[in-house]
């Protein structure tokens, strides 16, 4: 049985069920409302980390970077309550970010790059994480603790 005919048969199966047992009227809208209520209920508003160190490096890279083609690595430090985050950025077209979270906590961290696809990884037991081959541009790091009781938080946007 060729791949094509298998795809065709599965398409027939989809056509049959889409027609005879379609998604009920209003189900999509009910689910959108339920999800919106859940998001409001658990308070998914991002808590924003504060940049406490590296602003100067951040500014100089932003102004001097494109002209000089500077790829000097720099360090940023963010805090939110008891949580402290150190980020070392190696800028460039294949930028690299090394992060260190104190205290360490199981969480998913995502590099959200402009309108492009987000990249995800998990913060290790040591509190360390890394992203490689990031495109140059604006990025923000978003942290989702695996403990659902803990809120999601994020850094402000910075340039790499």
């Amino acid at each position: 049985m060729s791949e094509m005919s298998r795809e065709h048969l599965l398409q027939v199966v989809r056509e049959v069920y889409d027609e005879r047992d379609p998604v009920p009227a209003g189900l999509v809208e009910r689910m959108q409302a339920a999800v919106a209520a859940e998001v409001a209920g658990v308070g998914l508003d991002l808590e924003l980390m504060l940049l406490v160190e590296g602003e100067r490096a951040f500014e100089s890279v932003r102004t001097a970077g494109p002209e000089t083609g500077s790829t000097a690595a720099y360090t940023l430090r963010f805090v939110l309550g008891e949580v402290e985050l150190l980020v070392r950025v190696a800028p460039g077209d294949q930028a690299r970010i090394d992060g260190w979270m104190v205290p360490p906590e199981p969480m998913t961290v995502r590099a959200v790059v402009g309108d492009g696809p987000a990249r995800g990884t998990v913060v290790g037991e040591s509190g360390r994480f890394e992203f490689t081959d990031l495109p140059a541009g604006l990025v923000r790091l978003r942290f989702e603790p695996h403990d659902p009781a803990r809120p999601t938080f994020a850094t402000p946007t910075f340039e790499i």
């Binding site: 049985m1 398409q11 998604v23 009920p24 999509v28 689910m31 919106a36 659902p148």
Partner: protein, 199 residues
């Protein structure tokens, strides 16, 4: 490929649905609330089909679909790679559907099955005769399959590269038998369609 075999519709093919789900999830992560709405709109019809494959009545099926969405909101950190969002949703829905189907009585489920068998005839009477005839032949070909074939094919038809280990747990089938069973079920459907003059 024969001349009568159309290209699969791109918008309904799981690969395309999964791609749209990934893009919507990424937009939600980038703080666009419409991203989540679009993800729900994209994946709810798929989740409906997957859950109904377990023979659940409409109200229970809707509960399972809703609890799947609640799980996404609460446990989104479990989806590290955005491309995995479609698969994560269908696995979560199948697991919950399987649990729910085991919990409800057998009587309840067999009533639902019987109702579904009568559905095509009622529907076709309401539709245009020629079109209904084609649809009815397709329906009959699918209906003629053994129950486990119908469930397996309905689940895999809406899934993009389903994971056999997860399928095995959610369908109550040994992992090694899923590939061969799927092959046999597709072969049976093909024969039924040929006999019905549809292929």
């Amino acid at each position: 490929m024969t001349a009568t075999e159309p290209e699969p519709r791109a918008d309904g093919a799981p690969s395309e649905v999964w791609r749209r789900a990934e893009a919507a999830f990424d937009r939600w992560l980038a703080d666009d609330p419409d991203g989540l709405s679009d993800l729900v709109a994209t994946m709810t019809p798929v989740l409906w089909q997957v859950v109904r494959a377990y023979g659940l009545p409409a109200d229970l099926a809707e509960d399972v679909v809703q609890s799947t969405w609640m799980a996404l909101v609460r446990r989104r950190s479990a989806i590290v790679d955005s491309a995995a969002v479609g698969g994560w949703l269908t696995v979560t829905a199948r697991r919950e559907a399987w649990r729910t189907a085991k919990a409800v009585t057998r009587d309840h489920l067999s009533e639902t099955d019987e109702m579904e068998v009568h559905l095509p005839t009622q529907r076709s009477a309401e539709s245009a005769v020629v079109e209904a005839d084609g649809s009815r032949r397709l329906w009959e070909a699918v209906d003629a399959l053994p129950e486990r074939c119908r469930r397996l094919l309905r689940v895999v038809a809406y899934d993009h590269r389903p994971d056999y280990a997860a399928l095995s747990a959610d369908l109550g089938m040994p992992v090694g038998s899923i590939g061969p069973t799927r092959g046999r079920c597709l072969a049976k459907l093909r024969v039924a369609l040929i006999e019905a003059g549809e292929v």
